[in-house]
């Protein structure tokens, strides 16, 4: 695939359930980011992976949120015990890093609705 892909495109879940969101970055990109976009809001940084370095988790809003990146490629964002305020579009992006100005390529997003 030529671009960043995310799955599922839409996810509806009940409050209290756990959800997993997946991101497949562009092949060869060393950096991977997760953002959250709430209705009418800008993009909120969640977490950043760069190569084999420890991830920057400074944007995660609570300990219910976690993410991993396996083999330096696919990433999974997990939200445990979902709350209604978690409803948002979750965007993933990847890049070559600052070597090319950190131009980020975005996936289409996963729209999460917590009932």
């Amino acid at each position: 695939g030529a671009g960043v892909s995310q799955s599922p495109s839409n996810k509806v879940t009940e409050k209290g359930k756990d959800v997993e969101l997946r991101c497949d970055p562009i092949s060869g990109h060393t950096a991977l980011y997760w953002y959250r976009q709430s209705l009418g809001q800008g993009l909120e940084f969640l977490i950043y992976f760069q190569g084999n370095s420890a991830p920057d988790k400074s944007g995660l809003p609570s300990d219910r949120f976690s993410a991993e990146r396996t083999g330096g490629s696919v990433s999974t964002l997990t939200i445990q015990r979902t709350q209604q305020e978690d409803s948002a579009v979750y965007l993933c992006a990847s890049s070559f890093g600052l070597a090319r100005g950190n131009e980020q390529f975005f996936g289409p997003g996963t729209r999460l609705t917590v009932l």
Binding site: Q41, Y48, E103, Q104, G109
Partner: protein, 115 residues
């Protein structure tokens, strides 16, 4: 700390009129600058970027932006807009902080083109 301010949350414009979307940033380190566009129900696309060189940057769909270091601005312009330009526009700065490559977004400007 680095920050991005988009001064207008909404900009209504008539078709074929010129438009300027304002972006100011605050940073104590060198930055790269980006404008992204998000069409309704779609992901983010890169519109244009400033990495170095000429301060006037041309992007897709007839948009351009000018980097003004003294005013710490990166305003987006188009001389004549079209209905299809209706979208949300995000300004962003990329910088290196403590070994991590950060990207900070503004809150977005919703551009509405009226016939």
């Amino acid at each position: 700390a680095q920050s991005v301010t988009q001064l207008d949350s909404q900009v209504p414009v008539f078709e074929e009129a010129p438009v300027e979307l304002r972006c100011n940033y605050s940073s104590s380190v060198s930055v790269y600058l980006f404008w992204h566009v998000q069409y309704p129900n779609q992901g983010l696309q890169l519109l244009l970027k400033y990495l170095s060189g000429s301060t006037l940057v041309k992007g897709i769909n007839g948009f351009e932006a000018e980097f003004n270091k003294s005013q710490t601005s990166f305003h987006l312009r188009k001389p004549s807009v079209h209905i299809s330009d209706t979208a949300e526009y995000f300004c962003a700065v990329s910088f290196l902080s403590q070994g991590a490559q950060k990207l900070v977004f503004g809150q977005g400007t919703r551009l509405t083109i009226n016939p």
